[in-house]
Symmetry: C2
DNA sequence: CGCACATGCGTACGATGTGCGCTATGGTAA
DNA sequence: TTACCATAGCGCACATCGTACGCATGTGCG
């Protein structure tokens, strides 16, 4: 290729890239970022890789997004936007209503495991519109259940903390599995011997591992989640009786 | 022996560094890593910076630690080692015993806020000795309270998930404050106007913010934690009645 | 018709994690 | 004593990262 200064060797060799793409937009960038994060995990997101997925240079993204951290904030709020607004039940149906919230929150985190790591870095100080809307609405659900606004806030924080805590643990494992390129089954089987060895000196842990060998992991994760969820709801109920 | 290469300009210019330091050790490295993380946050830990704090080159660390991830695992388990083993109470005193566990877990996380981010990445798949010991012991506390081993496991997971969830949110804010180089007061005051503006259209959130203006943040964080803790314990208690 | 602005991009800089091979040290065997 | 060898530390190098900067180009407005 003649890369020196030339008076254009041929018209046809001219850039000719012009305007076919509708150009970059913030929404597009964020959507593609979420897709990339879902597919390849949090470490796979670099500005260069994201740019090239959008047929763009890495630094082009900076016209639409201040920096990588901001991009993550936008991606997190995008995911929050997936959550359905819970139905605003009456005092009788509050438990079902809140169960639904908890389950869909968990499901969303498991669908986008990287979000757990980000929430761990930045907590709930995000202030994104989707998150605000969700929070406002959820406060309403707790009020409808019979809590004062003050206590609704605390009750909501309790519930959300629990769900986030459990889901974070599950999401971390999902992320590691995704990074390892193995199936969940393979991954568990590869780790198991080391775990059993490590646990040898601890009778209760050993018993737990023995009991769970060969069990369906995601099933028991789910049972575990439901157990804790019911306990948290029981605890909140004591304040309504 | 240097007879052919250089004539050595002066004996005194010779290295003379020999062996004064007891050399690097894994324990030393991990301890210094924890110190650096506590002082300057998770982004401040690079192998080069850690090395220079130990009067060592970056790559020297790799003689004692496989890679940065492993270093983090060791650091996390080191911190787990700070937790006191909870007193093994009888069925009557289980609540106090578990409260103590929950509080010291939270306190530890707040003392080392970076750990929340790491737990968010890697969950509880750590298998470090301190963590295993802690878990085994805690299972015992739940058993002593009257849970079967199966249910003790679930109950423990519920409690830990809650504490981790709340503390993660608090720790994230602490980390951001530390990174910003401001005091908590300054940081809150700088963020507040934006938050109030963002919250304008949501009556319940607006009311919450209005009520909390000027309040002591860490005090209300603590109240919040205690509220949720009591709810979780209430919920667990329903299974023991 | 010309000008200002917005957008994309090439280049570049400093920092990062870490592999590789050299060197010196200190312990052990002969 | 001497010869040797495992080990710890380190300098160098490489690929990759986030992102600042300034140029080029196409668009919309006067």
């Amino acid at each position: 290729m003649p890369s020196d200064e030339q008076p254009i060797p041929s018209v046809w060799a001219r850039p000719r890239r012009e305007r076919e793409q509708p150009a970059l937009s913030r929404e597009q960038i964020v959507a593609e970022a979420v897709r990339l994060l879902d597919e390849e995990g949090i470490d796979a997101l670099s500005m260069r890789r994201l740019g090239s997925r959008l047929n763009a240079g890495a630094t082009s993204l900076y016209r639409h997004v201040a920096n990588k951290d901001e991009l993550f904030e936008l991606a997190v709020d995008e995911v929050y936007g997936e959550l359905p607004l819970p139905e605003q039940a009456d005092a009788a149906g509050w438990r079902a209503s809140i169960e639904q919230v908890a389950r869909s929150l968990r499901a969303t985190i498991l669908r986008h495991p990287w979000i757990a790591a980000k929430l761990g870095e930045v907590g709930l100080a995000y202030l994104g519109p989707n998150m605000l809307r969700q929070t406002e609405h959820l406060l309403g659900v707790f009020e409808a259940a019979g809590f004062s606004l003050d206590e609704a806030d605390q009750a909501m924080n309790t519930l959300v903390a629990y769900v986030l805590g459990v889901s974070t643990g599950e999401a971390a494992v999902l992320s590691m599995i995704a990074r390892s390129g193995q199936t969940e089954q393979e991954w568990v089987e590869r780790l198991w011997p080391a775990a059993e060895r490590a646990v040898q000196d601890y009778p209760r842990l050993r018993a737990r591992y023995a009991a769970q060998r060969g069990q369906d992991v995601s099933k028991s994760d789910q049972d575990n989640f439901e157990y804790g969820l019911q306990r948290v709801l029981d605890g909140l109920q004591t304040r309504l009786g």
